[in-house]
């Protein structure tokens, strides 16, 4: 028999709030975490704004030891460890002295230790390879974040990192879900993290997909679904969820945030309009439809959608895909929001941070507001009712949230979260 899979712990390190209390407050109140970074301006970036979590040196030391922090320069690993450790604690677990074979992690990343990698490259080119020290590999291997987290917590089940561009976080959740469903683990810490700064964001700046119009007004820069959307704002951070079999959660009387009913990952194969950077709409719709189908719900059961919605001209295409996949439009369309309006696009962490936000909506019965879309895109509101794009906090019973992410490589992921009735 297949296990039902529930969420028993959450952790988040977001540009607009670290930890569940601050993050919940921020998303309910539409608080932006986007700031202007003079360093990006000095480097000649067109887009000089971004979203970074504000982590003090003191806070870092609550998670990593002095020894771990020696020569440490990896924002992604730091954020991932913080979110993962917080989620684990939130689920009621402590750090295991022995190897815990029932628990593992699938923690996604786009790059690892890109800042440390830069330092290492300079040293190697300067013929200083012998002076690299012992931690370059651990910090720059793609699986750095899961390796650190697995070691800190003593995880003995699968410990790995997935990577699928901006779908990474969402995919990690579904991979952990599959593993628990199949009975191969009792608990999986799943999530995604992203490095930050010029070496990650530069490539996007060069592609001209970032907004360059809001360097003077950073908090207004990320404008999903608005008529004035002019490109995304880059972000960073991490989100983590503890997934657990329902049986295990009930046995230990754990707090259950929500159940994962089902989901789907697929790719458009970069055919039929899909490319390295643009989605094949047919596959996006197929992904959403399959997720709804294998969750055994009707499209009309969905209370809210947490979109990918990055604030580019593709926002309308995404809404169109949701509308066609669910066969819902106008007033029948579910509420829809985009966390990116507040934190920017946290890349490989986005799906995970946004899933934490989605689950918090179910647990606390609210739909967080979209900011920066006073001027809604006309095409979008000709398809779905403007009322379905909340710009103020809505407090109401939320049972089912659909979350999707789409990434470079024409990859898609969609998850269905549902409240579990006591």
């Amino acid at each position: 028999m297949e296990n039902r899979v529930v969420i028993t712990g959450l952790g988040v390190v977001s540009p607009n709030g670290i930890g569940l209390t601050d993050f919940t407050h921020a998303i309910k109140n539409g608080i932006s975490g986007v700031e202007f970074y003079p360093h990006l301006k000095d480097l000649g970036f067109s887009c000089c704004i971004g979203g970074k979590p504000k982590v003090s040196e003191e806070l870092k030391r609550e998670y990593l030891t002095e020894l771990q922090l020696r020569g440490f320069n990896s924002s992604g690993i730091l954020y991932g460890c913080m979110a993962g450790m917080d989620a684990w604690k939130d689920a009621g677990f402590s750090i295991s002295e022995t190897t815990d074979y029932d628990s593992g992690t699938i923690f996604g990343a786009g790059t690892s230790g890109i800042e440390r990698f830069r330092e290492a490259i300079y040293k190697v080119d300067d013929k200083q390879v012998r002076r690299l020290g012992s931690t370059v590999v651990a910090q720059t291997m793609a699986s750095g974040v899961s390796a650190y987290l697995g070691g800190i917590l003593g995880l003995g089940n699968q410990v790995t990192t997935n990577s699928s561009a901006c779908t990474t976080g969402t995919e990690a959740i579904l991979m952990g879900f599959d593993r628990i469903k199949a009975g191969r683990a009792k608990r999986m810490i799943v999530g995604g993290t992203s490095d930050e700064g010029p070496y990650v964001w530069g490539g996007f700046d060069a592609m001209r997909v970032l907004t360059y119009k809001h360097n003077e007004s950073p908090e207004k820069g990320s404008r999903p679904m608005s008529a004035s959307a002019s490109g995304f704002v880059p972000g960073s951070g991490a989100g983590a969820l503890v997934l657990e079999s329902l049986e295990s959660a009930l046995e230990r009387n754990a707090t259950i945030y929500a159940e994962i009913l089902g989901g789907e990952v697929n790719s458009g194969g970069q055919r039929n309009g899909g490319s390295m950077t643009a989605p094949n709409s047919e596959s996006v719709q197929r992904c959403i439809k399959k997720a709804v189908e294998n969750s055994n719900i009707k499209a009309s059961d969905i209370d809210a959608i947490n979109g990918h919605l990055t604030a580019t001209i593709k926002d309308f295409t995404e809404i169109e895909n949701w509308s066609q996949a669910l066969d819902l439009k106008g007033d029948d369309f579910p509420y829809i929001n985009s966390l990116k309006s507040m934190v920017g696009h946290c890349l490989s962490a986005s799906g995970a941070i946004e899933s934490v936000a989605s689950v918090l909506q179910i647990q606390n019965n609210f739909i967080f507001p979209n900011i920066n879309c006073e001027d809604l895109n006309e095409e979008i509101i000709s398809l779905i009712s403007a009322d379905k794009i909340p710009q103020k906090l809505i407090e109401k019973e939320i049972n089912i949230v659909a979350k999707a992410s789409f990434g470079f490589g024409d990859v898609n992921g969609c998850i269905i979260f549902k409240k579990i009735k006591k």
């Binding site: 002095e66 020894l67 020696r70 020569g71 002076r131 020290g133 012992s134 931690t135």
Partner: protein, 85 residues
């Protein structure tokens, strides 16, 4: 002799970040083994050597590095390399 005590004290400060056995560290003496006694992760030995190189402005070659597993060996190699400067 006081020279040696001084060097041990200096070494003690350098290796402190890496030790995982406080008791053995407190009682550190010439025969203390970095891995066996201080439970230093073997991967960190290269970091200790880099820190020693910086402190004394010396280069420690690969052969010497392989031998630096105890306080005694470290002191001897530092002495030789400093003298060679």
């Amino acid at each position: 002799m006081s020279d040696k005590i001084e060097m041990i004290d200096e070494l003690k400060i350098l290796i402190k970040p890496y030790i995982q056995d406080e008791e053995a560290y407190k009682n550190l003496h010439e025969d203390t083994d970095f891995i066996e006694d201080l439970k230093i992760n073997s991967a960190n030995l290269v970091d200790i050597i880099l820190d020693i190189e910086d402190k004394y402005d010396i280069d420690i070659d690969n052969d010497s590095m392989d031998k630096m597993l105890s306080v005694k060996a470290a002191l001897e190699i530092i002495k030789i390399k400093v003298a060679e400067k």
